[in-house]
Symmetry: C2
Subunit: 150 residues, 2 copies
DNA sequence: GCGTTTAATGCAACAGTGTAGCGTTAGCGG
DNA sequence: CCGCTAACGCTACACTGTTGCATTAAACGC
């Protein structure tokens, strides 16, 4: 989504259009995949934008709270943030065991058939694949398809 | 699994049978669900066993590394540890959004049909349900069944 | 443009989780 | 019982994220 308008989106949610906020959202749009707080900071450096740690955390939280971004857990217990797409956040994710990158599998439409034990009330399901991403080397090349046991 | 023999299992893996190690494994067996490092520490207190933080971390790692326990991510980016059952660790998990407890859904046999995009090599799939556990109160009572969109 | 309001920022201090080094203790094999 | 060394316990540290509070600056009405 290269031509999104960060400032406009932020203003539309009633937030103040600040340099950090627009820059962070622009970074998320450009990243194309969920990136960590730290990666956002580096991208801000490259754009010559200040990046106080706390402000950055708060900015990312604000974006998530206003549906402009979503966050997904990474393999190293650090959140990854991604610019929100239309239609919520209904897709699986992939975590690379080698480089730690996280990818949204938006094209993937997995079918999960399951019935929870009695008493458990379902909010949402989260499906995460672990393995090696296209950019990483590695021996086991199981590009296997269904079915997959969790 | 109330009658497992921690000491025997530890010895069988070639590890030294220490007080901490056997106590930790016994705690995991008794817990019945994946518990955090901190919860293990509390349980050790109740049994009058020392629980140096670092030793506890290393003990848990050792148990995981020798297939006597497995760890699963919690909602608060702290690992939860569970005594390992036979047949690896092929099941989904449930995270309660209210109390933070994690449950293994061993009885659940979800079928996931999916084909990863080209270049991604699959290691394993991880299916996690989020919602409210039987012990927690809450409004939304969707004990819904399949299909579920992640 | 110029004040006023207050959302957002920047800084310091802190909490929680997990790791690295290293000297000491104790499990186990002889 | 002895000796070897795995495991322990302690200190110090890294990383992720939060809280409090004084300061700055975005928005708005004039
Ligand atoms: Mn996503
Ligand atoms: Mn499990
Ligand atoms: Zn990779
Ligand atoms: Zn609960």
């Amino acid at each position: 989504m290269p031509h999104a308008d960060p400032a406009g989106l932020i203003a539309a949610r009633g937030g103040r259009v600040t340099r950090t906020r627009t820059a962070v959202l622009a970074v998320l749009f450009d990243a194309g995949r969920p990136i960590s707080h730290d990666e956002v900071g580096e991208a801000l450096d490259a754009r010559g934008v200040s990046h106080d740690r706390v402000t950055l955390y708060r900015t990312l939280d604000w974006l998530v709270g206003h549906d402009l971004a979503h966050k997904v857990a990474g393999p190293d217990r650090a959140w990854r943030f991604n610019a929100a797409r239309e239609g919520g956040h209904q897709h699986a994710h992939f975590q690379c065991e080698h480089c730690g990158k996280v990818f949204c599998l938006e094209s993937l439409q997995p079918a999960i058939a399951a019935t929870l034990p009695s008493g458990f009330r379902l909010g949402r399901a989260e499906l995460t694949f672990h393995g090696l991403c296209p950019a990483c080397p590695g021996a086991a090349a199981s590009e296997a398809r269904n079915p997959v046991a969790p």
